[in-house]
């Protein structure tokens, strides 16, 4: 097996942890996400994840010798004889434009989940209960979800070895979906042995009881969600259902993030994330 990096990425609360577990059970070695270095990179690129200019800034940063040296040293330490290695959450997809300069041939596994389910899960995971009762995050989180997924679709355009997996489908049809994932990893990493023997432990990791916050088709009925976002979710579902090359090419112009959304995301970052301790105390 070649020592090829595998990136398992998705919007927050989208089942990335479950899929990462499946990929490690398949045989990849999980490498810790470079959270401290990522924070430095983000600070050097302007300080926040929510800017339409972030990808360009990250690409420029990756060309600077000092950053290049640090990134290359880290990547070199992750390879070796142990086989494919894995980077996953907490790794914001938006930072990929920096790292892909140093891992030119990643295998990409993109996890897709109903954004309304993820919104609810995000609220449960991140907000104190009192605040969660008072606040609505559908529009806010859907912009976050949109930004993450557009980054992943762009990444997939540049890297042919990618697979979109549907979190709901994994829980509904684990045998079929786990086999699909295992075989994709076998092929893209040039595995000497079939994954068939490892399918059972992979299947045992899928616990439908962990599937919370199921909202079904409500997302498509919400007034506060943009038509472009509903269409993006449809498109991602089609990509996840399709095997091999996409029959429907990705056109980012179909799913634009409105300019005003960045301000909403940026303010939340300042007002909520940076004050998370105070919010939790409140």
């Amino acid at each position: 097996m070649v020592s090829r990096p595998i990136l398992v990425l998705g919007a927050e609360r989208s089942g990335v942890t479950l899929v990462s577990t499946l990929v490690t059970l398949w045989g990849a070695q999980a490498a810790p996400a470079p959270s401290a270095l990522n924070a430095e990179i983000l600070a050097a690129a302007g300080g926040g994840l929510w800017s339409p200019a972030l990808a360009d800034r990250l690409a420029a940063l990756a060309a600077e010798p000092a950053w290049r040296e640090r990134a290359r040293a880290l990547i070199a330490s992750l390879g070796g004889e142990a086989g494919p290695w894995l980077w996953t959450a907490p790794f914001p997809p938006q930072l990929v434009p920096f790292w892909e300069k140093f891992i030119p041939d990643p295998v990409v596994v993109a996890v897709v989940r109903n954004p309304l389910d993820s919104t609810r899960s995000f609220a449960r995971a991140r907000l104190p209960e009192k605040l969660a009762r008072m606040i609505r995050l559908t529009s806010y989180f859907t912009f976050r979800w949109q930004a993450a997924n557009l980054t992943l679709l762009e990444l997939a355009q540049r890297h042919p070895d990618h697979l979109f997996v549907d979190y709901e489908k994994i829980l509904q049809s684990p045998v079929e979906q786990v086999r699909r994932l295992g075989r994709f990893l076998d092929v893209t990493t040039g595995a000497a042995e079939s994954c068939d023997e490892r399918l059972l432990p992979m299947l045992e990791a899928v616990e439908p009881g962990l599937w919370h916050c199921r909202t079904g088709p409500q997302f498509f009925e919400l007034k506060q969600v943009l038509e472009e976002q509903k269409e993006l979710f449809h498109y991602l579902k089609r990509r996840a259902a399709h095997a091999g090359e996409p029959a429907e090419p990705f056109d980012p112009a179909r799913f634009p993030i409105p300019y005003y959304a960045w301000e909403y995301l940026q303010n939340f970052e300042v007002y909520f994330t940076e004050k998370e301790g105070a919010v939790a105390a409140g």
Partner: protein, 328 residues
């Protein structure tokens, strides 16, 4: 029996010159109420706010009773319905009676007052005379951030889009309510500071005609209130060039500027649609602000804010959003 003194309402978004226009009206001769109840001046408004504390408390309590967010487009109608409730009528009429007791025209000024015009129309014996203040929303937004947050936060928050939404909701409530009320005048903050002679003449003539009295003394006193040194936050970028501002919002400012220059023209709220995310954003801003205030001394709310903001223990009614709670 002599007619009750007229009510004068000063309307407009926050940080748009409503305090200046209220001061001008007071200098002309309108009664703003007991000075002890008008709040205190501060660094953001060194000449005072002219906001009657019992009015702010009434509006806050009405907002809580309306059981929907002030940023719900249905809010003005919901709160207007409360005017049929004897308890609310009695409280509002007592407030009006206290202000008109001196026999002079009396003043109500509060930036959120525009959301309550339907309520007051059902309370007062005749529609209020209204002064509508318009300022470049970009400048007003910058001023709003500086006035509302500690320096540690205000330097990093970008609230242009937020504030313009707030401004849009307010004017979408104010302008339809004025459609049947010819006794209103639209003034621009910039016009008052750039051309005070012309604009104060216009204002005093309007007040003289509607309220009687006034005269040269009033006009002279009004001139003394104009201090171009207080005109801060003049942005170099035109509002019409801002990328984060939506086309209907730019059209709305054009509409208001035309009305300030040429007088009334028809207003159709549907021509200035709100974007689908507007209510979530406006609600969350208020909620987070209040939540943080309870935990972080740097974000403490002023006494003015505490009088103004409806504090809820749970999210208000969600009918307009499809009954989908997104928290727990």
């Amino acid at each position: 029996m002599p007619a009750a003194p007229a009510a004068l309402f000063v309307l407009g978004a926050d940080r748009s010159g409503t305090s200046l226009v209220a001061e001008l009206a007071v200098r002309w001769g309108v009664n703003p109420g007991d000075p002890a109840l008008l709040g205190t001046a501060d660094g953001a408004n060194p000449r005072g706010y002219f906001e009657h504390a019992p009015l702010q408390e009434l509006l806050r309590d009405l907002a809580l009773a309306a059981e929907t967010s002030p940023w719900d487009p249905a809010f003005p109608a919901r709160v207007a319905e409360l005017a049929q409730d004897p308890a609310w009528r009695e409280r509002a009429q007592a407030l009006a009676a206290s202000l008109s007791a001196g026999g002079r025209p009396w003043l109500l000024k509060e930036p959120l007052l525009g959301l309550y015009l339907g309520f007051w129309e059902r309370i007062l014996p005749r529609p209020p005379i209204c002064l509508v203040t318009v300022r470049n929303p970009h400048d007003a937004a910058r001023s709003f951030v500086r006035a509302s947050f500690p320096a540690e936060l205000s330097g990093r928050l970008r609230l242009i889009t937020y504030f313009v939404l707030r401004w849009q909701v307010l004017f979408r409530a104010i302008l339809p309510a004025l459609a049947g009320n010819p006794d209103h005048l639209v003034l621009t903050y910039e016009g008052l500071l750039k051309s005070p002679v012309e604009q104060l003449g216009r204002l005093s003539r309007f007040l003289d005609l509607r309220l009687g009295g006034g005269g040269a003394d009033g006009l002279e006193q009004m001139f003394e209130a104009i201090d171009p040194g207080l005109w801060h936050q003049k942005s170099e970028t035109s509002f019409f060039d801002l990328e984060q501002v939506l086309a209907p919002q730019k059209d709305l400012l054009r509409h208001l500027e035309r009305r300030a220059a040429s007088g009334p023209e028809p207003f159709v709220a549907e021509d200035y649609p709100l974007p689908p995310y507007h209510r979530e954003w406006l609600d969350n801003f208020d909620t987070l602000r209040q939540f943080l205030a309870s935990a972080d001394p740097a974000c403490r709310l002023s006494a003015r804010d505490l009088r103004r903001l409806p504090w809820r223990a749970s999210a208000p009614s969600d009918e307009a959003e499809g009954k989908v709670p997104t928290g727990l």
